[in-house]
Symmetry: C2
Subunit: 234 residues, 2 copies
DNA sequence: CGGAAGATTGAGAGTTCTCAATGCCTGTGG
DNA sequence: CCACAGGCATTGAGAACTCTCAATCTTCCG
């Protein structure tokens, strides 16, 4: 669970007592297979869920078979902060890879929120999520296919970097091209073509579920990627 | 300021003392001309801003001249809830029409947040905003141009209805087709064609900045619009 | 080895964009 | 009261981007 604590601390250093409480609270961790739902649209969850390891996503189903992924959740991300205030989930959350999910009971959540610094870190994490969602919206609205793919790769590279899961010039990408398409509003066929295009342009390549970023500055520029919205620096 | 209080109460009835406090706090109201910025990307605002009358929007600038609107803010909506926790605005907020904006000082905001029901209502309003943003993302990712326009009209119709600003079968729409395009990820030319298409299909029409919804159920169906995410029922 | 899922490529169709011209409506100044 | 300018809406034609359908190839796993 240490990565979680590190993640929360990117938004501010926590005292030892808070860390201890976090470790205690994050004891109910369950393994979930790949491609399973953790929360479904319409659920009224009482527990708060937190990704300990593996990749998950938020998604909405539109018509028959059409799924829009609105966020990738990486280790340290919270699936449903205080959603209990609303009537029900307006979207689903599911695993993409095998994952470990911490279940936080309402009473434990109250304990966490009673600690000002933890509450603050959680609130900030929520605001960062919202910023990321806004950036996602901007991508879908104003960037073409190549720019969208480049932007996603940049975002994931930076986010994985902050939790120590990136390599020097790339990272493991456990997504199929279909899942990337669901996130980017593109068909898997077109994702494939765009990835080839980016490879031929010498920007990045994907082989064997591994992204290799050949020229990050250029990639960042083509995607007009500004990492500010991720608030990676406390 | 009464519409604001009504708006907050759609999420839960407030006691008289809370209403009084709200009225007191919402005393610094300033008029802003159309098409002016209230907050810019990079600002570090200390005040919280709330729309009292008029239409505003959140937006991001991508490349030279390309603007993506990510939300329309109607009377009762908050521009920057607790944004002070983050380093800076990751997006701009501007007026679309002449508007009145309430400026809430940090100390007043603290007072408001000290009232549990108001704090709760504000938090819920934030969650609803996020739901709406997610729905917006889904539109941009998975709906075609006609469906996007239809979905936007449905959303605005419902939201304006909850603040008593809709007619029986339509509403005033103070947006140019260019602004609609900025929100929907379409060119103004294409927005125009789509609106004509919807009119010819007998679903809705726009004349003189007024939307007339001819067949709401059909419009809703074509947009696969489900108002649940707006949480209009407490 | 066979099967299944995913990646890759081709060809043609459909949607949306760009560029450009024209029409409409409103407010302003003569 | 009328002419004019500016902003916005409308329409046309061709270009560009992305999708659909389909076939083939690769990889992984039982």
């Amino acid at each position: 669970m240490d990565p979680i604590i590190d993640k929360l601390q990117t938004l501010g250093e926590l005292p030892a007592a808070d860390k201890l409480l976090l470790k205690t609270v994050l004891s109910d961790v369950r393994s979930v297979a790949a491609r399973k739902d953790i929360l479904r649209e319409g659920d009224k969850p009482t527990n708060v869920h937190l990704v300990v390891s593996g990749w998950c996503c938020r998604y909405n189903i539109v018509a028959e078979g059409a799924r829009q992924i609105t966020a990738f959740l990486l280790p340290g991300d919270v699936c449903n902060t205080r959603i209990t205030l609303l009537r029900q989930m307006d979207h689903g959350v599911g695993t993409l890879t095998p994952a470990k999910i911490a279940y936080i009971a309402p009473s434990e959540m109250d304990e966490l929120l009673a600690r000002p610094l933890i509450a603050r870190a959680l609130w900030m994490a929520g605001l960062v999520d919202e910023s990321a969602l806004r950036a996602w919206t901007v991508s879908l609205g104003k960037r073409d296919a190549s720019e969208r793919v480049a932007h996603l790769i940049c975002e994931l590279f930076v986010r994985l970097g902050t939790i120590g899961s990136a390599l020097a010039n790339g990272f493991d990408l456990p997504l199929t091209q279909e899942q990337m398409g669901d996130a980017l509003g593109l068909t898997p066929v077109h994702v494939n073509r765009v990835v080839r295009h980016l490879r031929e342009a010498g920007l990045m390549s994907i082989r064997n579920r591994t992204v290799e970023i050949a020229d990050f500055p250029k990639l960042q520029k083509m995607a007009s990627f500004d990492p500010g919205y991720l608030q990676t620096i406390g």
